[in-house]
Symmetry: C2
């Protein structure tokens, strides 16, 4: 109550089905609330059938640990006819989510008064796996118990519950044989890898051309840095499934043994060649690559995926064949891509950028198909999701813990991508 | 005789129609030779009907002033049946020609023993206007007196005469209403501008789209640095002819008045906006551009032509609209193009390189059409060639003078592009 300023309260639209829960929680400490709290699970129902919900919100840009707040609110049991109420099962923390909060991302969130925060706010997170709790009277494609992922970007997934205005904003997925974490992590990294391998260079066509010319050794090549990232591992696997060969650059681990283990692991996933960044940045790597792996350069590497920038991107460019394309989707080194003019002019290299949000918003049906196809591969055991670190989000989990989980995403190594996994209701 | 080493003489193929002229000139100092020398014109005939020729050749890479040599040779009057003998009327000195001699260009010359040089050699220069002197018995498309330009790259144009193996290596041009310098300078700069404005972004289509949407103010925009270069001036004029609008960046001249005169000159050629590099590199130029010229950014600039690199290229990229393309064709600053990752990813910018040689060799018919179209515009007075500095090449012009003319091309300002103009025969 004390944190709710009059101005913000006035800004809250009457039509909203959300209200600030401070009042009812203070006024009606119902037995169910107390029971839930002590049981360490997520709250489902408040008084009078209201759903109690929590969300990690921010009202201004900054470091997640500074600007994120855990906001509690309630959702009315009487849904508008077109709406869908979801509970979150799992929601990853992606680097792009952190960049969005920092204000450095390409898409800016809409700060809205809908959740009844003191200042208009946005909910962090972008992808997730959700279960339908209830649907409005006119909703026809979804029913209670269905699993869904967001069809659009900027969804705001770091919250226990979401009230979605329109069922068309959701993609239903067949949950059989899938875990919530598998479904929650399909929209960003595997989709990015899928599109980058397919939409810039016709590698599959080049493979066929190669076979027609009598090449027996394998399909077309691509090269990538950041190969152990979520996108990198997805590209390795999808590439293998599509008959492509890959040269993969990873950061060395602390010990030689760990590095070897990582190399083996990626090869098991389908990588043709794995090298450390140190090997990769050696002078003459491109010549070594041609000699050792790409048949003296007769098999040209026509696609490079870059999420590092700086020197690594320049080296990647040198490995590409004439007319090859480098697609940049990240800048882990925080250094720009420097293009030696000679490569641009004389080798006809093409430099593009990939941004998942643009693709997803421009081709909604494509996003739907891509996600279903990848989930199909997961279900058949042909695609392994990247390692994740599950971060439990229970009703009583403290704001500090959640904020630190987000802040930690951009810092150092984590055993896997952080994914909020929500307590049972 | 003294300069002809036995090894090189042995390497000279017997089938060649060329021989080292030292012997006949020494043995037969004919009256015609002496007459020609004293009259200060180019030699046409040596003894026995041989054509006396000179060529600026090099046998190793280096600075033009170090490695170029003026080599004298003769051409037999009995041509192979498919051959064409040309005399050179005009041959420009392009920066790419100098880079080729320095060994830093994308295409490497073939060092050949054909001219009878002590070491296998290549002839400098790439474009030129030539007159047919005589043709072999099976040549059907050309006759004495015709004007031609090379159909292929690496032609070697800095020489008084050329014996061409096959008529298909030449493009005949209708000389009516054209000067030799106009014809000689069409192949490189205007052709480059033509292709860059047409082959990367459909600016003409965008113009039509704009008009259909009710925009009355003008056609689609492009932006370029190096706007006062040969390519830049050609782009300004072709753009204007095609209904496009251009933002042009030039280097300031010594005085404010000269700079203003240059701006006016480019505007007369068809430039919409001309700014100095200093204005262009100011913080916030992209915002100024949108405010002052491109209707608050509603008219997006979808093509940028870059021949500078470094900071200028980065600024150019910032001026482009979402999905815009920057085409690099030079690196006058000798600095690479640095791409802030955000522009690549979030603005979907595309970075390409243009290399005339690749285009010309891949699309010979296209080159023929482009050249004929531009020469048609010149003939109609719709296209003005860039200013040139004519450098006379007479029979007695000394090697030192010719070498310095080449070396000077990369150094400082010249009133216009250097073009060798050959003495009458």
């Amino acid at each position: 109550m004390a944190t709710l300023r009059p101005a913000a309260a006035a800004a809250r639209p009457a039509a909203s089905r959300l209200f600030c829960p401070s009042r009812p929680r203070a006024s009606f400490p119902t037995p169910s609330l107390r029971a839930a709290t002590t049981a360490g699970v997520r709250f489902k129902s408040g008084p009078y059938g209201y759903t109690q919900a929590k969300a990690l919100v921010y009202s201004k840009y900054g470091e997640p640990s500074d600007v994120l707040h855990l906001h509690t609110h309630s959702i009315s049991p009487s849904l508008p006819s077109s709406s869908v109420l979801l509970r979150t099962l799992a929601a990853p923390i992606n680097p792009a989510d952190v960049n969005t909060i920092q204000g450095t991302y390409g898409a800016k969130p809409t700060f809205s008064p809908l959740l009844g925060t003191p200042e208009p706010s946005a909910v962090g997170g972008n992808e997730g796996c959700f279960e339908v709790v209830s649907v409005g009277s006119s909703v026809s494609t979804l029913k209670k118990g269905d699993w869904v992922v967001p069809a659009t970007t900027g969804f705001g997934s770091w919250r226990t519950h979401v009230l979605v205005e329109d069922e068309r904003g959701l993609i239903r997925v067949d949950k059989e044989g899938l875990s919530a974490v598998q479904v929650a992590t399909v929209s960003v990294n595997p989709s990015s890898a899928y599109r980058m391998l397919r939409d810039y260079v016709d590698l599959i066509g080049l493979s066929v051309e190669g076979y027609n010319k009598g090449r027996a050794s394998g399909g077309a090549w691509f090269i990538q840095n950041g190969a152990n990232s979520g996108v990198g591992r997805a590209a390795v696997q999808l590439g293998k499934l599509w008959g492509l060969r890959s040269i993969n650059v990873v950061r060395a681990r602390e010990s030689k043994e760990e590095t070897e283990r990582l190399k083996e692991e990626l090869k098991e996933l389908g990588a043709t060649v794995v090298v450390t960044e140190e090997e990769f940045l050696e002078r003459g790597f491109a010549a070594r690559m041609r000699e050792e792996w790409t048949d003296g350069g007769r098999e040209e590497v026509m696609l490079g995926l870059n999420c590092v920038g700086g020197q690594s991107a320049s080296q990647l460019a040198k490995c590409l064949g004439e007319g090859g394309t480098m697609v940049t989707y990240g800048a882990m080194s925080k250094k720009p891509v420097a293009l030696p003019t000679g490569l641009l002019i004389f080798k006809d290299l093409r430099f593009r950028g990939f941004w998942l949000s643009r693709w997803a918003n421009a081709d909604k049906e494509g996003k739907r198909r891509t996600i279903q196809e990848i989930l199909g591969l997961v279900r058949e055991g042909k695609f392994r999701e990247s390692p994740v670190q599950e971060l439990k989000w229970e009703w009583e989990t403290e704001e500090k813990v959640l904020k630190e989980a987000v802040q930690g995403t951009l810092q150092g190594f984590r055993p896997g991508k952080g994914v909020f996994v929500f307590g049972e209701t």
